[in-house]
Amino acid sequence: MKKKVLLMGKSGSGKTSMRSIIFANYIARDTRRLGATIDVEHSHVRFLGNLVLNLWDCGGQEAFMENYFASQRDNIFRNVEVLIYVFDVESRELEKDMHYYQTCLEAILQNSPSAKIFCLIHKMDLVQEDQRDIVFRDREDDLVRLSKPLQCACFKTSIWDETLYKAWSSIMYQLIPNVQELETNLARFAEIINADEVLLFEKATFLVISHNERRKHKDIHRFEKISNIIKQFKLSCSKVAASFQSMEVRNNCFAAFIEVFTSNTYVMVIMSDTSIPSELTLINIRNARKHFEKLEKLDKNRLNAGRQWRV
């Protein structure tokens, strides 16, 4: 099942770096070597096994952008599921940025009016910490206003912290076809095994695609923090040619289990009842695995069956 995702924004705003970190296992430091993207870089990224993201990383230099809006307009803006527009927070040409953004929106409105729009205010690490919220809110207000009648979701991001994961997780979440079903099953799973919280990560990117919270937690940013931490750990494992499979973290307040789950996901289970032996939780995870694997297969078959009907 192919979904087209456009990644657009001015030259040097950080699009290719983001893409490399989320999908190509770059660490933030590695992105320094990336040069300017020439024209459009197509990449097909597999996500969750049966979802293929057709990622169009569009070079942001003016010459290219003019081209997109003129001769390549229909080609680029047709059949778009998601538009991700990246703004460099430090840009000195706000007017121009907005102008290009609005031109994109016009093209979207004409060719893919039901596309979901995400605006990423990027490089937030360059803004002083106490200013970040204010700056972001300001930009967000402008963007929401300018995007009308289309709706956009805004995120502040930086490749140097977990905010990148939060934004991309939310974007990916929109693309998963059976997300409701996943959540219902996850809820049931969490209830039976007495877990405080259960998270589902996509295997390659470690983006959180679903979660169930049975016990309230104060830190609303924990998902992206965990994505970030585990992804880094996974990458350092691969540096020594080891593949990350599972982890158990335990202290006197909680036990956390990260295990390979289905062929496309990892699961994280948090238990605050430390009297429950680890092995019991592991047995439960193993048994739930079969069920979720079946869910994934069913979904795949459903998609394939749907495809056959198209002429």
Binding site: N185, I193, E279
Partner: protein
């Protein structure tokens, strides 16, 4: 889609502990479930700690007898092991078909017959849920 039937085949920790606890009367002071590798799966009891050590030792003893049965004439697999120790009696029994073991620890006051009856009853009761799960 009726996919929930499969997901019900899991073990709820509280329920399991409660069930195991039902045996802890009249001298029986702890009941445990151990996996084939000696890891503790569930337990209910009072008295001294070192539950995990007991679990691993029990599992080891079982494995030792299980392996040596190949030399015996009788081809039946090991059902139940009852040990008389200095300060108490121990019974180990098959639980389900996936290799889990049920262990019961009791005072010297509990007769072997009673211990065997209790553990057999518990194992029979647990057979239902334990036969459907995958242990390793």
């Amino acid at each position: 889609m009726n996919g929930f039937s499969a997901i019900d085949i899991m073990l709820n920790p509280h329920d399991l502990t409660e069930i195991l606890g039902q045996a802890n009367t009249g001298g029986v002071h702890s009941t445990l479930l151990v996996n084939p590798h000696g890891a503790l799966v569930a337990f209910s009891g009072y008295g001294d700690n070192a539950v995990r050590v007991k679990a691993t030792i029990s599992s080891n003893i079982w494995s030792a007898y299980e392996h040596s049965r190949h030399n015996a004439i009788d081809d039946d697999s090991l059902h139940c092991l009852i040990m008389s120790c200095q300060t108490g009696n121990v019974a180990i029994h098959h639980a389900g078909s996936s290799g889990l073991l049920l262990c019961m620890f009791a005072d010297k006051t509990v007769g072997h017959g009673m211990l065997k009856a209790k553990i057999a009853a518990m194992a029979k009761f647990l057979n239902g849920p334990l036969n459907t799960i995958v242990v390793s």
